[in-house]
Symmetry: C2
Subunit: 343 residues, 2 copies
DNA sequence: TTGTAGGCGTTATCAG
DNA sequence: CTGATAACGCCTACAA
C-alpha cells in the first residue's frame, strides 16, 4: 500500500505538504503542487479514508437502513436517488437491511456507529409509520417514505398520497364520470387510507352520491403475505347492471388485475370502462395496453431530497424537525377517457 | 467518543486486554473478561472500525457496483442476497452506481480503494457481458449476473438462461403442444439469445418442424429505450388461422402484454392458448390471472453465492477463475395446460 | 510557503 | 495470562 509518506519521499517534500495538495489547502506554490501531483500519479497513490476519518471524525459516509419485506421492487428508486446525491456530493453509501428484525436492526445501528458514519437515511419500502430501533446509538437520521410513530421525533420526507389521489379523482370527474368504482389497497398501508380519503373527499365535494361510489377491499392481511381479492372484486364491480364508468385501483398492480377482469368480461378500455392506478410502476403501467393513467410516486426525489435534508442535519445548519411532503404527479395516459365516449 | 482506553481505565486493565476481549482472542481469564464486558456495556463502547482497518489493513467491507440503466426493478434481489450474506458474515456493504458512465465508474473504483474495501461485486442488472473499468485500481472482484468480455479474466456467477428455457420448452412439449409461438427479448440481452437457442434446440430435438415455430421480435433498440412490439406481435400470432396452441414470451413483462392481446381477441388462457414467461417477476407473474407459468431467475442466490465466491477470493483460499452457473427453476402455474384440452 | 511533533483509536510484537 | 511500546496513515497545531 502506497502512503502519503511514499509520495512525500518521491516528490522530495514533507508528508504534510502532500496532504495539503490532496486536500486542496491553500499556501502551496504551483511548482510544489506540480511535483506532488506527479509523484501521486506515478505511484498511483489513493488516500486512505479510514485514516483520515480517525483524525477528523467525519467519514463522509451515509448509511441507508431498509426493511424490505418480501418482494417490493418498486422503491429501489429511493435508494438510487440517494446514491445519485451521494455521487454528486462526494459521499459514500453504506447499505444495510433489517428484514424487520429488531435485533438485526440494533446491530445495524451499532455497525453504522462503528463506521463513524455521518448520518442515516431510514427508508421504508412502502409509505408508513416507523419506529427506528437504534438502541442507545445516536446518529442524525431522516426518515424516507415514512414518518415517526407517535412520540418519536425525526425529520421525514414523504409522498403526498392524498394530493395525488385527489388529482386523479378530479381528473376522472372532469372526464364526466359520475359513478366510480374503487378497489382499496391493504388498509395496513398508510397510503391506502390517504388515497381512499382523498377519493371520498374529492368525489363528495363534486356532488357524487355515496351510492355512486362502489368501494371494495382489494387485499388484506400481513404485508408480503396478503390475500388478494382484486381480480374477483373487479369482475364483480364490472358485472353490476349499473356498472360504473370508471374504476380506480389502489395501485398499478391492482390495475393490472382490473384490466384482466375487464377484458375477460369483453369490456374495452377505455371505451367501456376507464381504469386508473397509482404508483406509475412502469413495468406495469407502460406494459398495459392501453397504457395506464396513474399517479407517479416521486421515489427518486424522496431519496435525493432525503439525502439533502440529512446533510443539512449533519452540517448542523438545521436542527429543527422537518416533515417534507413531495407532490405526486398525475400521469394521464390512454386508459382514461371522457364519459361521453362511454355512453 | 468513548475509546478503548476509556474502557481499559474503567475496567482497570490495559487497552490491549480490552482489545483481546472485543476480538475474542484467547488467553483471557473469565474473570477479566467479565470486568471488561461490564465496562464496555456501562460506557456503551463501540469499536472504531476505521482505526481497526488502519492497523489490520482489512476493512470487512465489500463493495457493490451496479449500473442500472433506467427502470430495472427486477434485480434488486441480487443486492438483497449480498446484503443477507453480509449480515450473517459480519461484513458491511458499500453501494455505488455508475449509470454506465466510465468516468464515474473509475471514480467508484478509486473511492472503494480509498475505503480499503476487501472486494467488489460487480453486479449487472440484466444478464450480459461487462468490462469493468477499474483503471489502475486492483481489488478482488466477482461478476454477478454477468461475465467478462473477451480477454478479461474475472470470476463470475450467472443464471442458466439456456437450461431454464429448455426446461420450459420441454414442459410445453410434454403438454402436447406441437405448434408454438415465441416472442423474443431484445437481442442485446445475453439472456435473449440463450433463451431462444434453448427453445429452438429443444423444439427441434422433439421433432417440431421449423414451420411450427413462429418466432417474432418483441423489442429492439438500446436498453432502457427500446421500441416495444410485443402487444402487436402477440395479436398477430394469435390471429393466425393456424394459431399456435402455446405462446412463449421472452420475459414476464412481455407475457403480460400477451395476456392482454389474447384477451382482447376473446381467447381464454389456458383453454384457448397456453402462455408462458420468464423471470418469475412476482409483481407480474402472480398478479396475472391465471397466474403465470414461468422460469424463476435465482436473483437472491446470485447475490448470496456471489458474495461467497468473493469471500473465497479475498481469503485467498481460491485463486483460480471460476464461472458458476445457477439453475433457473421452472415454475408451473395455471397459464399452461395440456394441448388436448385445447383442441 | 513549508516542515516537525504529536496524536487519533486500534492492533502487532514482544517482554514479563 | 497480561501489559508496555510501537506503528498504521493521516491531520492538527504550531514552529520555522
Amino acid at each position: 500500500m502506497v502512503s502519503i509518506k511514499d509520495v512525500a519521499r518521491v516528490a522530495g517534500v514533507s508528508d504534510k505538504t502532500v496532504s495539503r495538495v490532496v486536500n486542496r489547502e491553500p499556501n502551496v506554490t504551483a511548482d510544489t503542487m506540480e511535483k506532488v501531483r506527479l509523484a501521486i500519479d506515478s505511484l498511483g497513490y489513493i488516500p486512505n479514508l479510514a485514516a483520515r476519518s480517525i483524525r477528523s471524525s467525519r467519514s463522509n459516509i451515509i448509511g441507508i437502513i431498509t426493511d424490505y419485506i418480501s418482494t417490493t421492487p418498486y422503491s429501489g428508486d429511493i435508494v438510487r436517488g440517494i446514491q445519485d446525491w451521494a455521487g454528486v456530493n462526494a459521499r459514500t453509501v453504506l447499505l444495510a437491511n433489517t428484514d424487520g428484525d429488531l435485533e438485526r436492526e440494533a446491530n445495524v445501528w451499532r455497525t453504522f456507529k462503528a463506521h463513524q458514519i455521518d448520518g442515516v437515511l431510514y427508508v421504508a419500502m412502502y409509505h408508513r409509520t416507523v419506529a427506528p430501533a437504534s438502541g442507545d446509538v445516536t446518529i442524525p437520521t431522516v426518515l424516507v417514505n415514512a414518518h415517526a410513530e407517535e412520540g418519536l421525533s425525526f425529520s421525514s420526507i414523504e409522498p403526498d398520497d392524498f394530493g395525488g389521489s385527489a388529482a386523479l379523482t378530479q381528473h376522472l370527474i372532469e372526464l364526466g364520470h359520475r359513478r366510480i368504482g374503487y378497489i382499496r389497497l391493504n388498509p395496513l398501508l398508510l397510503g391506502a387510507n390517504e388515497r381512499l380519503d382523498a377519493f371520498l373527499v374529492t368525489a363528495r365535494s363534486s356532488g357524487i352520491a355515496e351510492s355512486d361510489m362502489i368501494i371494495r377491499l382489494g387485499m388484506e392481511g400481513p404485508i408480503g403475505r396478503e390475500i388478494n381479492y382484486v381480480y374477483r372484486e373487479a369482475q364483480s364491480i364490472l358485472s353490476l347492471s349499473d356498472r360504473p364508468t370508471a374504476l380506480v385501483c389502489g395501485n398499478d398492480e391492482m390495475a393490472l388485475q382490473a384490466y384482466l377482469a375487464a377484458l375477460s368480461l369483453g369490456l374495452r378500455i377505455p371505451e367501456d370502462v376507464t381504469i386508473a392506478g397509482f404508483d406509475d410502476f412502469k413495468t406495469v403501467s407502460l406494459a398495459l395496453k392501453p397504457e395506464l393513467t396513474t399517479v407517479a410516486l416521486p421515489y427518486h426525489d424522496l431519496g435525493w431530497q432525503g439525502a439533502e435534508m440529512l446533510n443539512e442535519l449533519v452540517q448542523g445548519s438545521s436542527k429543527r424537525i422537518e416533515r417534507r411532503i413531495l407532490n405526486c404527479g398525475l400521469v394521464v395516459r390512454k386508459s382514461s377517457a371522457a364519459r361521453d365516449r362511454v355512453v
